[in-house]
Symmetry: C2
Subunit: 172 residues, 2 copies
């Protein structure tokens, strides 16, 4: 017989992630905006010296709050002139069918985002392509034949007024 714990652990079972203090938030906001800033520059801005600043950054990375760093590229300069949103409805919403669709589209490099939504539309996809012809080919040969697809409605992006990575750290 396994003895029951007489003293439940204090707090939750999840490691007590120290709630982010204002310095951590400033670090996150700064790195989200300028991902390649040097640690000494970052330390100066948040009012620390380099070593403790670096320790905080490493902690934030290891805890998964910072997932990674990415260069933001100009799609047009790489020949990707077309961005399309596709609203997809499936024939079946059984979990296995949802997963099968997700696995299919996740493997397609043209699909940059795939979000499952509530309501009549099951998924919204953000798709990039070199030109309209390449997109049409992608649509008919890759997306529409995906398992369990009911309907696909696509809308071309005419222009992008705002595209900010991440979340507003400043908001409480």
């Amino acid at each position: 017989m396994i003895a029951a714990k007489t003293h439940p652990p204090q707090g939750t079972s999840v490691p007590t992630q120290t709630p982010l203090d204002p310095i951590d938030r400033t670090i996150l906001a700064t790195l989200q905006d300028e991902g390649r800033i040097t640690n000494v520059e970052l330390a100066g801005r948040v009012g620390l010296t380099a070593p403790p600043c670096l320790r905080r950054v490493r902690t934030l990375e290891e805890s998964g709050i910072i997932r990674g760093y990415h260069a933001e590229l100009d799609p047009a300069a790489l020949g990707f002139g077309i961005t399309v949103f596709a609203m997809v409805s499936l024939k079946s919403q059984a979990e296995a069918d949802l997963l099968a669709f997700e696995e299919h589209v996740t493997a397609l490099p043209e699909v940059r985002e795939c979000h499952m939504l509530n309501g009549e539309i099951d998924f919204v996809l953000k798709i990039v392509a070199h030109d309209l012809q390449a997109f049409q080919l992608f649509l008919t040969s890759k997306l529409t034949p995906a398992p369990n697809v009911g309907s696909v409605k696509t809308s071309l992006t005419i222009r992008t007024a705002k595209q900010v990575p991440g979340v507003p750290v400043d908001l409480g």
Copy 2:
């Protein structure tokens, strides 16, 4: 009277941006994936020594192909549990009205993306919020009262199967 040009400039008026060679593409793909990699590591991967690699990166930055670097943060860890897509149609599609709407929503920190689309839906917005209550408040007090709004249909993101920043550099 202004003399007409007798010899039109060779090629286009845009500065002849050297088409990206395979090394540049590898640099871009690498930095898009690992934005904080050191230059020596990057140089090693693309088969160069550090100095020419750094020169290429600087050229790519100055030409605008690399727009910037950003840390990718975990929205949930910052308390942003809610991501919503809003499909907005305006009452008027005159350019001045489109711009007025864009200016309004661009200033809202909860709006992370705003794309103008063709078809019945004029704009798709990606919105983040701390919780449903905060989102409802945002919707009724910030988005719906935006100038010229006809209809707003919102869909909650249930889960995100794929979210890759940028474009597939590897694709021709």
